[in-house]
Symmetry: C2
Subunit: 451 residues, 2 copies
């Protein structure tokens, strides 16, 4: 049922490509979904994949184009004339078409638009290009089926028959008034089981959730998830129906948001993909590395203050990594839980103080376990009671501090509308490193003077 | 259009709850979606929220129950009799009903099942309970509309009218043969625009993607995302149609998978929520803290070898945190990119060697920048050329090593079918800490002997 790419199959395809055998190739690919064909592209050399694209049937080509990752799509588009691009765009839904045009270099966008044969498609796309990226408007498609409230069921079925020639999948029928203002929706099931003479106005469902074009995509995905919607109508400020957003686009948004959060947590500033250029990959990573280095330099100054003590008690240096690593780990764990709670809206009614107390409770339990274990280890291995006491007391303090920071920093960032996922990464780790080292050496001086 | 919870509204609700004013309360909530009412629950004290639940209308109550987080749902269910639970379950879709029953303590599961009035619902649920968690079977619902290929369009519409009494939203009409084997699907639009006398067999779409009950949920979400499906039929080994999975359940799976990955990356072993008990939160975090501590102890042994050198050159200790932190950060960055590529299937055809080379390239660029900067800093600040040389040479080497490990470890884990997200977390960080310290002191001994 599902396609699995085997190396034998790939070899056969590669031969077809090398022979420019368009017919054999397309018959070999005819049973495959565009998403499967796209997968094949990633298993070919760059030149082969461009060659393959040129050999595809027109309709297949435009479907495959949409399934490719942006970078490869751009490369393939660059090898086509604007007339060829216009031909492919003509066959796409308006939202996909607008996305593809948006990815083109500015100077050829207009050229391509002017060569699209279907004029209503061209004006729909031009319209969609006006919406800012990251808004509901940028996600919506113009293709939808709308009927008037004063129509009868039979007139409505006739209208659907007419309108659905360019709507590939119909999710819902929208009901509007004479000014195109969205009134509600009509399930196809209701339509199927209703009396043909009934008026739409008397059978439609007025409880419809919609978004405005300017709402951010994050809100769109939140709404669709919360209310389990498959399609969401988009209106302007006056409530006029302009388009609709489908769940598959939102699944992509959810996926992208999760990826961005993971990259933020990992100290990568820009969204990058593994296939990006060396230079882009480097540039996205260097800022947080420098922040971490800055933290390391501060730590070196702090340790520098205790240079004299290290000369006498060099064993103090042994546990610098342990203190730093544990503080970092605890901080990341605490902030991950808080960031997740914030993203899920399950932290809504909770007061900051309560959260802090709970995290400190967890910190207490884990701190006692960790410092107890390391106390046992040091008392057995080393003969310095001062060192054993220093490491355990410092570790306990560091774990409590790290729990506090790991909770407090993301909650505070969230309050000031900064993405708290930033806090789960190198920021909290660096902060904990500095504070951990300071605590360790302060405790050390105290212990060695008193024990 | 969307509901926003204000504190005034909350105050009014709290008064209704305190007064046991069922009528005022339900009329106040009547315009809200169950998901909105669930949000209110999280802004009440525990006792208030249980009280509110008892005051809700029956139908609303069963909808709200499904929108609550597991922990609160369990608490509320514990306060109901099994007859009350059975009444609520009777109104749910079979998949939701099975999920709720699965959450009940074993001893009352059967009691509740036996009290469900609708016998076909009870047997559907009992059926669904047999599928293992994490499989397609556990996600599917039994409610679907199926017609025979030999039916006519008009007979089919009649059949839909009959079958849809307990199907709330109809996504697709499935076409089966006399043995209930899935043949294909029929869009409602096709049905609407077809001649009433046409045979279903001549108008249905035979290209239907399905999954078997035993396939893992991760595959289900992959397939639905890849092919942009809203609903996916589920069949048994012989191809008989058993149920269907809808996209909203899969969105939950995607969300959960992303959360699990973030927790794994943060060194949390079990999936926990911020609301879990102190003890559960502690237990989920302690394993990776102990791994990190183990790494810290190994690092302390390594530094111990160089105790004599630290006595003479205590400044060597200053840069232990910088070396450790930078190695950790680089490792996490590299592995995050690789893990993402693996999850996206964009790394499919790539050879490990190529990936390693690219990451080493990025490591080279960032290593040169970082070690160049720290060289400048040390030459200005400190008067030990040996120290300056040691830190920069070690840093460069550590960054290259960390890039290598950050790439190699997740790729290798993936090859051995271990979730590579585990590698992005404390595991790679700990490994890099140990290797970083070793490199640093080895380079240090060399430099101080030769410069």
């Amino acid at each position: 049922m599902q396609f699995e790419l085997t190396s034998e199959y790939l070899e056969l395809l590669k031969k077809d490509i090398a022979n420019f055998d368009k017919k054999a190739l397309n018959s070999r690919l005819s049973e495959l979904h565009a998403a499967d064909i796209a997968e094949i592209f990633y298993n070919l050399e760059r030149e082969e994949s461009k060659q393959l694209y040129r050999l595809l049937d027109d309709e297949t080509a435009s479907e495959v184009l949409l399934e490719l990752q942006e970078e490869l799509r751009e490369e393939i588009l660059a090898s086509l004339t604007s007339k060829e691009i216009a031909g492919q765009i003509d066959q796409m839904d308006s939202d996909d078409a607008a996305d593809v045009i948006n990815e083109l270099p500015e100077n050829i966008q207009e050229e391509v638009l002017s060569q699209i044969e279907d004029e209503s498609q061209a004006s729909d796309i031009a319209d969609l290009l006006n919406y800012e990226e990251g808004t509901a408007g940028s996600l919506m498609a113009k293709e939808l089926v709308a009927v008037y409230a004063h129509d009868s069921v039979s007139a409505c079925i006739e209208e659907i028959r007419r309108q659905t020639t360019d709507v590939k999948v119909m999710y819902a029928v929208y009901v509007v008034d004479e000014n195109d203002k969205l009134l509600g929706l009509l399930s196809l099931r209701t339509l199927l089981v209703s009396d043909p003479d009934a008026k739409i106005g008397s059978i439609y469902d007025a409880e419809v959730i919609s978004v405005q074009t300017s709402q951010p995509t994050a809100e769109v995905s939140e709404i669709m998830e919360k209310y389990d919607l498959v399609v969401l109508p988009v209106v302007d400020e006056t409530g006029r129906l302009l388009g609709r957003i489908t769940i598959d686009d939102v699944v992509d948004v959810i996926r992208e948001e999760a990826e961005k959060d993971i990259q933020r947590m990992s100290g990568i500033t820009d969204t990058v993909a593994e296939r990006d250029s060396l230079w882009r990959l480097s540039r996205a990573r260097i800022p947080w590395l420098l922040v971490g280095m800055g933290g390391g330099i501060i730590a070196s100054r702090i340790i520098g203050v205790y240079e004299g003590q290290i000369k006498i008690q060099p064993e103090m240096a042994f546990f610098i990594p342990l203190i730093g690593a544990t503080g970092g780990n605890v901080g990341v764990q605490s902030s991950a839980i808080i960031v997740q709670g914030l993203a899920n809206n399950t932290l809504l009614g909770d007061k900051i103080a309560g959260r802090l107390l709970k995290e400190l409770g967890v910190g207490c339990i884990n701190g006692l376990i960790c410092s107890g274990l390391i106390l046992g280890y040091n008392l057995i291995i080393s003969d310095s009671v001062s060192l054993a006491a220093t490491v355990s007391v410092a570790l306990m303090t560091v774990i409590l501090f790290a729990s506090f920071l790991g909770t407090f920093v993301p909650l505070t960032m969230n309050r000031f509308k900064i993405n708290p996922a930033l806090a789960t990464g190198p920021f909290v780790t660096t902060l904990n490193d500095i504070i951990g080292i300071t605590i360790y050496f302060m405790v050390g001086r105290m212990m060695y003077n008193h024990i």
